[in-house]
């Protein structure tokens, strides 16, 4: 495996940043934000992976096994980040729905009453 997951994670983040910066459609911006989030989640999961590690669901583990246990913090972080990502995506999409209703378009070039 090596660094492969980290490379993929960074690619996802860069793709997401590209989408967020250069796309004009509000829905595509939301997709971009989700892509970055996926990349970060992959990064965290890859960080928590240990070769030949075991899940820490023993109660009082014998020392031989305790060495191979993986502290599940990165997984917990990922899970929390997924939950937060869900909330932000839903909120962004609902703003996009209302913007479309109001302006009749999803193009950011036409949604710009706020300037200067």
């Amino acid at each position: 495996m090596g660094n492969f997951p980290f490379v993929v994670a960074m690619l996802l983040v860069i793709l997401g940043l590209y989408t967020l910066l250069f796309k004009r459609n509000l829905i595509k911006l939301v997709i971009g934000a989700s892509l970055i989030e996926t990349g970060v989640n992959l990064f965290l999961v890859a960080l928590g992976y240990r070769t030949a590690g075991i899940a820490p669901i023993y109660t009082y583990a014998p020392p031989a096994l305790a060495d191979r246990m993986v502290l599940p913090t990165p997984q917990a972080l990922t899970l929390t980040s997924i939950v937060i990502g869900l909330a932000t995506t839903a909120l962004l999409l609902s703003f996009a729905v209302v913007i479309h209703r109001h302006y009749g378009t999803l193009d950011v070039r036409e949604v710009k009453e706020l300037k200067g």
């Binding site: 983040v13 970060v40 932000t88 962004l92 703003f95 913007i99 009453e113 706020l114």
Partner: protein
Amino acid sequence: MNALSVHAPVLLVATPLLAAFVVPLVAKLGSTVRNAVVGVFTLLTASLAGLVAANVLAGSGAPSVYVFGANPLNLTLPSGMHVPIRILFEVDGMSAFMILITALVAVAATLYSFSYFKEHSGGEMYYPLLFLLLAAIFGMEETGDLFNFFVFLEIAGIAACGLIGFRPWRGRSQEAAFKTMALYTLSGLFVLIALGLLYGQHGGLNIAYLSSRVGAGMLDLVALGLLVVALGTKAGVAPMHMWALDAYGEAPAPISAVLVASSQASLYGLFRVLFTLFGAAVSVAALGWFLIALSVLTLFVGVTMALLQKDIKRLIAYGAVSQIGYMLLGVGVGFTTSGSRPAYGFVAMQGGIFHMVNDAACIGLLFLAAGAVHRASGTRDLNRMGGLGHDMKWTAALFAIGALALAGVPPFNGFSSKLLIYESSFAASPILAAIAILSSILLLAVFMKVFQAAFLGPRLLENVREASRGMLVSMLMLAVVVVVFGLFPGFFVDKLVTPAAKALWLGRDAYVRAVLGG
């Protein structure tokens, strides 16, 4: 009573959270009951904030630790572990100071909301979101765990954007909310990448633990950079300040005031990262100059763009951005002179930190007054209002107090903190002091123009009525803070600001010891 004060730090977050879930249930019983419940919970939260701050300041700002689910509750390292694994709150002088600011703004904003939202209702979810935002801000200010900080940061962001876009019939507010949320999401993810980098290297996310481990390695510096960019963005520092204008400008007036407190909580996070987390690891002088450069840019952008605005709330939003520049300037000067001239550095820190409370009070006052003006005249365009002072004498007077304080005119609080910044930044470089003073003068000019355009001159609008009593009382509350802090700055600097500045400036060792022992 003792148990209450022991558990006060967690109750301070749990109470608004409880309110956020209770209020929608009692909202069925009518708006009077709902407002009563909201009022009780706000007062409860504010008194808990006072209790937490009083406890910490009684110990002259030494950090106290509250570990979730532990027995006893200050057990940070259970059964021989050398990494703190439980989530914990760590409250020191700086946290206490920030908590007081948030509580002040919260009380004023809630009281104001009661009358502001009387007519256009649909406010079933307004108070729950407001309480959620407050709980998250208090959490950010209290937590001793970076990941916990990230979670509260995101909750604050989501609740804040829900409130910015609270009036869906206004397309512009939706636009502002979308932009703000996109930027908040991006900066939140930057924070998360930084957390991943720190965790991968050091195996923990507790601030005190990390502070004892981080070095000046490549990945640590990348993490520091990401944190600075993300938290700076959320605080509204200059190159990334655009969201702040839209958000402050388009949010309902009381929310603009709370958003100022929320941005300051991000700024607090930035200071915590720079001073406590990386305090021993990186060269402070270089970072200090970086902060000073950002602050000068922020001041410049905020003040010059404010000159061009026609929309009263957007103009105040530029004023709010410029004030972030003063805070950064004070702390940045503190950073650079910490090695060479610590006496001046400490004064600069005091000035920067004292300016946070002054900014929250006077910008909050201005936003509330602008909301009252908007409410009475039905417009926010300065060209279309005029002569409002004939009908809104109180609002005019309160707006004037806020504007003079913002511009740093002597009897008000803005002057007392800016004076500390001027004299100490003069020691770092006279040019900085000149820039700071010039910005203040320009701000004074801008707000003279606004005051003249909105309140003086012949009556342009008919049927304008004075703001309702609740709105006036909440503005008066902030105005009293503005005046009292301006008249007796020495007392408040001694009692509130010095413990806060010391906790940041010299408190890193105590902060680490409180968790790791030894």
